[in-house]
């Protein structure tokens, strides 16, 4: 896929907001998975109607590839400024691929309490699932070869963009 | 058996000779080193081209571990190591189990050694009963049994009055006393030189003062009694300086250093290598330099192997728990050669440190290649490189800090009393 053929990230975000508007609970907490998911959660909280607390989650300690990849050095503090027990939570991630990060994030959430409900919002669903996990809300769907990775970045002005790169660690 | 060793480089420290030549041996003695005697017909001719022909080496400290410590080594294994190292005469310290404090033990040791017959074994008797420092041994009986000197091995002497009496008594009969200078209180449970390495690694330390304080005491007693002492295994620059002035003063003292301290220092402990656990401890770079210089200028008289075969079980433990000591008989020659090469000491002078001089300290006739001498001979290639590996050592003790090192100089043949006692299979 050439860069020209990639959808615009801001357009995908607008699509995501539209799909969530009216569907998501007015008091649902938005929990972004570091780092891309965190940016998107903040944007969603600003643009969706309702009272949305924002939390952040770093799934490094819950990943299933620690044995292979080790611990990355810039693990950030998981920070959930609300009571997880009984809460309605929308997990927010930038790209949904194998589903393993979402699995790790759900596990981590449960170590903080028993949520009432967990939904999943993603900017991009690129297919390739290895676990039975699907997004509740999705900005855009893409078909991308397995050996490539879809990367969301944010410029200093806060504008999101999409890129496709060779996956790190791929031969 | 008549043997002709031809085309060799004959080095005879006794006569300070270093020249090409042949050696003729008959009935255990050297019968000529230029021309064969009239009618000499060799049963065996040994071609020594490219090799040095020297008197067999004399080692002042080789533990054979008998009696009592056969799990570490046996006379068979260690005398084989002596043969492989070109050592035809060796003195063994009394730190056996039980210690060599009774004539029966000494006779048995001499008898066993004679049966094996590779090397002349000269036991050093215990100076005190059980090496306990409390009662003198029956030195007269022990000398009759074959002891050439008396020592405490590495067991410390706490009681200074007792030490003076031991010197006086031995001196009465002209027996030699060998002492390793180390103050037991300052050495305590130390395992490493009190310097940067011990500080860094947190190892209990032995200060240089443990050696100098003991030397001061020994020199004081030598001065008081007039009885000579041989000092074993000097380790420090300060100790060398004291020895130098004692000799200048005319005190009757001699001294040896071991091969490890000529080449290694405390830095070689690395990350707690138990193979570098030696006693006295490996000291600093400055100490090593002073020891090498002292051997070159004759302040230190002789070089010994301080051969101490130890089993793996006591080395595969934390550094301070490891038994000190290393196998050395087979390294005496290559490490003496290495020192001579590095410090530009003529070979004939270097070899005197492991032949004539230690022989005089034991009280033996000077080993020589001159006609009429006993045919204790070593033929060695001074330049052939070899790697010190466990399977390259005949000694049962495979532990030495030189494991893995490449050394130059290897024995091609050892003869004792005109008999070939070591001859490796030709490759």
């Amino acid at each position: 896929m050439t860069p020209d053929a990639l959808p615009d990230a801001e357009a995908a975000l607008r699509a995501l907001v539209e799909r969530m508007r009216g569907a998501v609970a007015y008091d649902a907490a938005l929990v972004g998975i570091y780092s891309g998911g965190a940016w998107i959660a903040e944007r969603l909280a600003a643009e969706l109607p309702g009272e949305h607390k924002v939390g952040y989650i770093d799934v490094a300690y819950y990943r299933d590839d620690y044995e292979i990849s080790g611990l990355k050095s810039n693990v950030r503090r998981t920070s959930l400024s609300f009571d997880v027990s009984g809460a309605t939570i929308v997990l927010v991630d930038d790209v949904l691929f194998t589903g393993r990060s979402v699995r790790a994030a759900i596990n981590e959430l449960f170590d903080f309490g028993r949520p009432e409900r967990i939904e999943l919002a993603v900017l991009v669903d690129r297919g390739g699932r290895e676990l039975p996990i699907e997004a509740t809300y999705c900005g855009v769907r893409l078909a991308v070869a397995r050996e490539l990775s879809v990367v969301v970045s944010r410029d200093p002005g806060g504008t999101l963009s999409l890129a496709v790169e060779p996956a790190s660690g791929a031969a | 058996m008549k043997i002709e060793i031809r085309n060799g480089r004959l080095i005879d420290p006794a006569r300070r000779i270093d020249r090409a030549g042949s050696l003729f041996i008959d009935d255990g003695r050297i019968v000529g080193d230029v021309e064969p005697p009239p009618g000499f017909r060799a049963d065996r001719v040994v071609d020594a081209a490219g090799s040095v022909v020297s008197p067999g080496f004399v080692d002042l400290a080789a533990r054979l571990r008998e009696p009592g410590l056969e799990y570490k080594a046996t006379l068979e294994s260690e005398l084989a190591a002596a043969g492989a190292g070109g050592v035809t005469s060796l003195a063994c310290p009394p730190d056996t189990d039980p210690p060599l404090d009774e004539p029966g033990l000494v006779e048995m040791l001499k008898h066993r050694a004679r049966q094996i017959g590779i090397s002349h074994v000269y036991p050093v008797g215990a100076l005190t009963v059980g090496l306990r420092g409390a009662a003198l041994t029956e030195m007269g009986e022990l000398v009759e049994a074959g002891c050439v000197a008396f020592s405490q091995a590495d067991v410390p002497f706490h009681d200074t009055l007792m030490l003076l009496r031991a010197l006086q008594y031995a001196g009465t009969f002209g027996y030699r006393v060998w002492l390793r200078p180390q103050d037991p209180y300052l050495a305590q449970d130390g395992v490493a030189h009190d310097g940067e390495v011990a500080t860094r690694l947190g190892l209990p330390a032995i200060p240089v003062a443990a050696e100098t304080a003991a030397l001061a005491k020994i020199f004081g007693l030598v001065r008081a009694s007039g009885v000579g002492v041989h000092l074993c295994r000097l380790s420090s620059a300060d100790g060398v300086a004291m020895l130098r002035s004692a000799k200048a003063e005319g005190l009757p003292v001699t001294c040896d250093v071991d091969i490890h301290h000529l080449h290694l220092c405390d830095v070689d402990i690395g990350w707690f290598d138990p193979l570098a656990n030696l006693m006295p401890p490996l000291r600093g770079v400055r100490d090593r330099a002073a020891l090498r210089q002292a051997v070159a200028d004759g302040t230190i008289d002789a070089i010994c192997s301080d051969h101490a075969p130890v089993d793996d079980d006591v080395k595969q433990v934390p550094f301070a728990e490891a038994e000190s000591g290393a196998t050395g008989l087979e390294l005496l020659l290559p490490l003496t050669l290495k020192w001579a090469r590095e410090d530009k000491v003529p070979l004939v002078d270097a070899l005197s440190r492991i032949t004539t001089i230690p022989a005089a300290i034991i009280g033996l006739a000077a080993p020589s290649l001159a006609a009429g001498s006993i045919a204790d001979v070593c033929i060695f290639d001074p330049e052939v490189p070899w790697v010190v590996r466990r399977d390259a050592l005949a000694s049962q003790g495979k532990n030495t800090p030189f494991l893995g090192h490449e050394l130059e100089g290897r024995v091609c043949m050892t003869l004792r009393d005109g008999r070939i006692v070591h001859e490796p299979a030709q490759p």
Binding site: D58, Y61, Y62, Y66, E67, S69, G70, L71, S73, N74, V75, R76, R77, T78, S79, V84, N107, E108, F110, D111, F112, G113 | D194, G195, E196, A198, T199, R200, L201, G202, L203, P204, A205, P207, G270, W271, F272, D273, P274, L275, D313, Q316, V317, P318, F319, A320, E321
Partner: protein
Amino acid sequence: MSTRNPQLNRNGELTHLLTLEGLPPAIITHILDTAEPFVSIAEREVKKVPLLRGKAMFNLFFENSTRTRTTFEIAAKRLSADVINLNIGASSTAKGETLLDTVDNLCAMNADLFVVRHSQSGAPHLIASHLTTTGREHVHVVNVGDGRHAHPTQGLLDLYTIRHYKQDFRALTVAVVGDILHSRVARSLIQGLTTMGVPEVRVVGPRTLLPTAVESLGVRVMNDMREGLRGVDVVVMLRLQNERMKGALLPSAGEYFKHYGLTSEKLALAKPDAIVMHPGPMNRGVEIDSPVADGARSVILPQVTFGIAVRMAVLSIVSAA
């Protein structure tokens, strides 16, 4: 024996933690950075993350220490590792089993990680090199105190604490007070501080409690406590073991306190914002006065909290190597 740093694997990753000596500053920084987010795990409802789930960590204590053993047990459990405590003093060695036999046996029980305390300097190095020569590079060793040699996790938690309160190592003066000679804590701390670029590390104590070549560690030696504390940012008080007070090295605990005990009056010579640290357990009235130990500048309890996070960081980093 190899001169390669035995703690690093072929890829330069930390596979054992044996000492802080010779560790690149980047690795120390990585450990401290990794520890930071672990601090907050203690605040969760479930004080646990599944990072080391299924790993078997053996607490191998040849020397008793309930305290250190417990902190490692907590750290490992918060990482979901299985913790097996062995009181070796009472079992194997008493029956004549050698250190390496014990290690071989535990490896046969599929140990992944050994947390080792031993009264002999270098014992953890011996275990690590044995694991290498027997082809068991996947088993890791963490030294938690060997003889007088090293206590690297204590050194790291001290560094973490100092960084937490003082930020920049390169502008600090640190005084370490007390029994340096017998202290593995002091050696590891000094090596850590000098590695991280602390420009002045002072050691303060009587000459009977200083190693002969202490200057070679890169420190300034001060025998007078008041001089030693003047203008420092950090004061680290070392524990004085009971057996040192019996006359051979020091006349009495009372005289030691007079010369080297930390009182408010002596602490006043340090910078106004200086912090006071102690590896614990404290001897109140011997090396430290209670008003100082409990005072506003004491960070002795935060050290304990940070200690768990630092140990979690070490366990998770070596396990991944």
